[in-house]
């Protein structure tokens, strides 16, 4: 059947094609596929499905190079979420996704619907969501616009997750001018399911009914996927209507109804209607099942009258699902949805004819052969070439950066670093997130290197963390990619878990620029090396490109969401010291490296130098040492050294919990050859600080595993403060100074938050 244009459809012109974001070549490809001029509806469908967001057209060839398999991986990339087995017949579904562009123009709804979307990705697999994490990047808190974004994003994340009753348990937040015009909002959801309840989004069974369930379809969010696939510009504020509006209450009902539906056995496939809504969900389900589908837009429950097929297909109204119901069970599906006060409507059918067909009643408005709509999407292999400017930045000798006069007192430097919002306590943010609902949270935000949740009915626990230092990736994408994975693994090892698998959210700039594509290619290569070395396959994720504002691209930020498994959750280990007189052991070795450090950026305003080296064999040995000594019950606390280096890490061990402070006395004189600022504030990788009452046993495990380790001091009562001896000098910090710096920095900055929206011209930064 050949589609006929609807009365009132605009004529297809080169201008209209360009407006839909299709290149000349892509349009020719479409015409070739169809053998005719597309209808307006077809043009809309293709513009969404071939957008970067849906098609991965610039990233797919490189994504194939990531390791994706392990014996325990039940579902790798390509589904709504990845799934791994954790034994006892249980499995974990998890995924991370970005909502950067919507959050840049409408922070509250942008972040909220990001949470809603990732929740749906997990419960469509048949999993009950048990935890949320988020990875956020903002510009400097000195900017009123940034404070407005921070306040809105945090409230959006909180309101949605809190209402859903899914605890937000961990994440990572960094502040750097590189994210000023284009914040990153990445949300991760983790769910748990019985292995036999795993369901996929694969349309099957000729004659089965395709049903739209959940919320009705409105005109909101049309073309959101294409919006996410272009650079932010000063016109972006005008695209606020492309941001969807979230309704967590409906989503909560949809969650309960969907899990009940899957358990009932009446449906064979479930797919979230996320980016590009009905179009993307139906086309992808058909492609996975290699079947045809037909959909009648007149049968889609709508919120407003007069919606065209184009609008219905491209709407990104939230809280909707597409399910394939077994023929004859449609009423059973309706019954379950009705119990939860939700609607379900048959809108189409799985058909044998290899075609993707959309009708409006009897009129065919779009028709594509077979699954070519998805499989014929163009793929690009852009040029990759490193920017000369970055090569020069990396080569800069950062040891030549002269210390400030105040730095003669290292305690001053430490206090300053603890005030850096990237390092400071994030309590201001996470106290807006319910982290304890569902009563599984063993280690919540702020007190461990990763969150730990118990798995009810077993002795096991899950360790969860997101990580990525974009500054490292910017200055050396290969090394930065490696470190992102290694740090996430180290963090879950510090709470006692074995790193299992990752999901990733690849936030980069415009891939058609060779310097950006170079970052993308190299960062992925670094990640792949680390994933292989650490035995953590990638089970899925999301690519977010075009993260650019007129001020330039964001730091390349491949956020890693790591899942680790604790065999015995009672071993879960926090970062804060626990017992006075415990020995303090440094696992790993300091180095004379300062490049790409928070010290240089925050104290000196210098973003330069090579990031610290990352030896993956050593990282693996460190992970194994931590895992073994914690599970042998030898370790009272464990914390890795990251931004701010050793001095910040040990300060956090002392003051992480302001209600249970500990002092410490440590001596770093053993490393005479290393200048004190590198020793204290350098970010050498592969290190962790552990406290123990049995130093000999921990040192023996480290030695056997090939990890350098040294007993450097003792946990002390709080009144003795933090004392670090370096090169004969004794640096002494009263704990209350450190507490004030670390715990007050963000609340103090946010007190200046404007109550109402601050709009700026994104091109100039000037108030609009």
């Amino acid at each position: 059947m050949t589609p006929t244009p609807r009365p009132g459809d605009p004529t297809i012109t080169p201008a209209l094609v360009a407006e839909h974001g299709l290149t000349r070549d892509e349009y020719d490809r479409l015409v070739n596929m169809l053998g005719r001029t597309p209808t307006f509806t077809e043009l809309g469908i293709v513009s969404a499905l071939w957008s970067e967001h849906c098609s991965y057209k610039h990233s797919r060839p490189l994504l194939r190079k990531l390791p994706t398999s392990a014996p325990y991986v039940l579902q790798g990339p390509g589904e709504n979420a990845g799934v791994i087995s954790i034994g006892d017949g249980l499995a974990v579904a998890f995924k991370i996704e970005s909502h950067n562009h919507p959050s840049a123009v409408e922070p509250y709804q942008g972040a909220a619907t990001g949470v809603g979307g990732i929740l749906r990705d997990v419960f469509t697999m048949g999993a009950r969501p048990i935890a949320m994490l988020n990875s956020l990047r903002f510009g400097s808190l000195d900017s009123p616009r940034v404070r407005y974004l921070v306040a809105g994003v945090v409230r959006g994340i909180g309101d949605y997750g809190n209402c859903m009753g899914v605890p937000t348990v961990a994440g990572d937040v960094m502040f750097d001018a590189a994210y000023e015009g284009n914040p990153l909002v990445n949300a991760m959801c983790v769910g748990i399911l019985r292995e036999e309840e795993l369901i996929r989004a694969k349309a099957q069974g000729i004659g089965n009914a395709i049903m739209a369930v959940g919320a009705r379809t409105g005109r909101d969010g049309i073309h959101g996927a294409s919006f996410a696939s272009e650079d932010l510009s000063h016109n972006s504020d005008a695209k606020r209507p492309r941001v969807q509006v979230g309704d967590p209450f409906t989503e909560k009902l949809l969650l309960e109804a969907t899990l009940e539906l899957i358990a009932s056995g009446h449906v064979v496939a479930v797919q979230d209607m996320g980016a590009a809504g009905l179009t993307s969900s139906s086309a992808e389900m058909a492609e996975r099942g290699d079947v045809g589908v037909t959909i009648d837009t007149l049968k889609v429950p709508v919120r407003e009258s007069g919606m065209t097929p184009y609008e219905i297909l491209l709407s990104e109204s939230q809280e909707r699902m597409l399910v394939v119901a077994i023929k004859g069970r449609e009423d059973k599906v309706r019954e379950i949805l009705a119990k939860w006060d939700l609607t379900a409507a048959v809108i189409g059918e799985v058909i044998a004819e290899p075609v993707y067909r959309v009708t409006e009643g009897d009129r065919v408005v779009a028709e594509f052969p077979g699954t070519r709509l998805v499989t014929d999407c163009p793929q690009y292999h852009p040029d990759a070439r490193e920017s000369d400017a970055i090569i020069a930045l990396r080569a800069r000798d950062v040891h030549a950066v002269p210390p400030l006069p105040q730095e003669r007192n290292s305690a001053w430097t430490l206090r300053r670093l603890l005030e850096s919002p990237t390092i400071a306590s994030k309590r201001w943010l996470y106290r807006q997130y319910d982290s304890t609902v569902r009563t599984n949270t063993v280690i919540g935000p702020g007190s461990g290197d990763a969150a730990v949740l118990r798995i009810r009915g077993t002795k096991k626990g899950l360790a969860l963390k997101t990580d990525c230092n974009g500054r490292y990736v910017y200055l050396d994408p290969r090394v930065g990619g490696r470190i992102a994975v290694a740090e996430a693994a180290r963090n879950v090892a510090c709470v006692g878990a074995r790193p299992m698998a990752i999901t990733n959210c690849l936030n980069f700039g415009n891939p058609t620029r060779p310097d950006i594509f170079f970052q993308f290619r190299e960062a992925l290569a670094g990640m792949a090396e680390a994933c292989v070395a650490l035995g953590t396959p990638v089970t899925g994720g999301n690519v977010s490109l075009y993260n650019e504002s007129p001020a330039g691209a964001v730091y390349p930020t491949p956020t890693i969401g790591m899942v680790g498994l604790l065999e015995d959750v009672s071993r879960a280990t926090a970062m804060e010291f626990r017992e006075p007189e415990d020995a303090i052991i440094l696992l790993g070795e300091p180095t004379d490296e300062l490049g790409a450090s928070e010290y240089l950026a925050w104290i000196h305003g210098v973003v330069a130098g090579a990031p610290p080296a990352c030896d993956l064999t050593r990282e693996r040995a460190l992970v194994e040492t931590l895992h073994e000594s914690i599970n042998a019950g030898l370790v009272h606390s464990a914390h890795d050294c990251s931004e701010g280096g050793f001095a910040v890490a040990i300060a956090e061990c002392c003051i992480g919990n302001p209600l249970a402070l500990h002092g410490a006395m440590v001596d770093l004189s053993a490393w005479k050859a290393i200048p004190s600022r590198a020793l204290l504030f350098g970010e050498a990788q592969g290190r962790a600080i552990v406290s123990t009452s049995d130093a000999a046993a921990v040192l023996a495990i480290a030695k056997r595993r090939g990890v350098p380790a040294r007993n450097i001091g003792t946990v002390k009562p709080p009144n003795e403060g933090l004392v670090i001896v370096v090169a004969g000098h004794s640096m002494r910090s009263p704990l209350m100074d450190l507490v004030a710096a670390y715990h007050d920095a963000i609340p103090r900055a946010m007190q200046r938050a404007p109550a109402e929206q601050v709009t700026v011209d994104l091109a100039t930064g000037a108030p609009a």
Binding site: F249, K252, R431, D434, T439
Partner: protein, 229 residues
């Protein structure tokens, strides 16, 4: 003892209450659907936390019209024990089962551990505790600022209906210890007949040392004493 836990659309702490009763207390619990009219012979009814009907209008304002609430009110009227936690406290206030109202926190949504002091032990939910006992448990709410007119507050104090107050580590009801701006640091109250109890903190999240606190257990154990009395 049989505990019925009401499931409203948007409830999200009903499983936590269930686990506290069944796993920690070893008692029987059943889920009660908000559209039903049957308490299934429950001795105690729990209105759990969450966001019933999304709380878009005013927390608890719509849930009070759920069919099951008629039976809950009858149960309370006959002296049956009703416990409202967080959103359940809000619903009980909206339904007129408890005095006062719960307004938006003065400083926005707060999720954190708090310490509350037990003020009176002559109720079904506090009998196993001691007067002045301090309990640590989480709060997680945006609308928990207890408010009533000064007259009503005085009457509640006189009639020993203020059951819990937010306090600091020293057990003092200070401004800093008050997480939401509640009048007189009130965290929980009971009705005049002392059989309907509401509180904003989550005792059901503090029943297992693995999760950091088991201070909530003593409150659930009180129920046991009352039910067997």
């Amino acid at each position: 003892m049989k505990v019925g836990i009401v499931r409203f659309p948007g409830s999200n702490c009903e499983d936590d209450a269930f686990h506290a009763v069944v796993d920690q207390l070893g008692e029987e619990a059943v889920m009660l659907w908000h559209k039903d009219h049957d308490l299934q012979g429950s001795d105690v009814v729990i209105l759990p936390g969450g966001f019933s009907y999304g709380d878009y209008l005013r927390a608890g304002a719509i849930a009070r019209f759920s069919p099951i609430m008629r039976e809950v009110a009858l149960h309370a009227g006959k002296g049956g024990i009703v416990l409202g936690i967080c959103n359940g406290f809000q619903i009980a206030c909206e339904a007129g089962l408890l005095p006062g109202a719960l307004l938006r926190n003065d400083a926005g949504y707060r999720s954190m551990p708090v310490t509350i002091r037990v003020e009176h032990t002559n109720t079904a939910f506090t009998s196993a505790a001691t007067v002045g006992q301090c309990l640590t448990m989480p709060i997680a709410h945006g609308e928990g600022r207890f408010a009533a007119s000064e007259d009503v507050l005085d009457q509640l104090e006189n009639d020993a209906q203020v059951l819990f107050r937010y306090v600091d580590a020293a057990g003092e009801a200070t401004v800093d210890a008050n997480p939401n701006g509640a009048m007189r640091n009130i965290a929980g109250v009971c009705n005049a007949a002392r059989n309907v109890i509401g509180l904003m903190p989550h005792p059901e999240r503090a029943v297992d040392p693995l999760l950091g606190s088991e201070d909530g257990l003593v409150l659930f154990e009180s129920l046991l004493v009352a039910a067997h009395a």
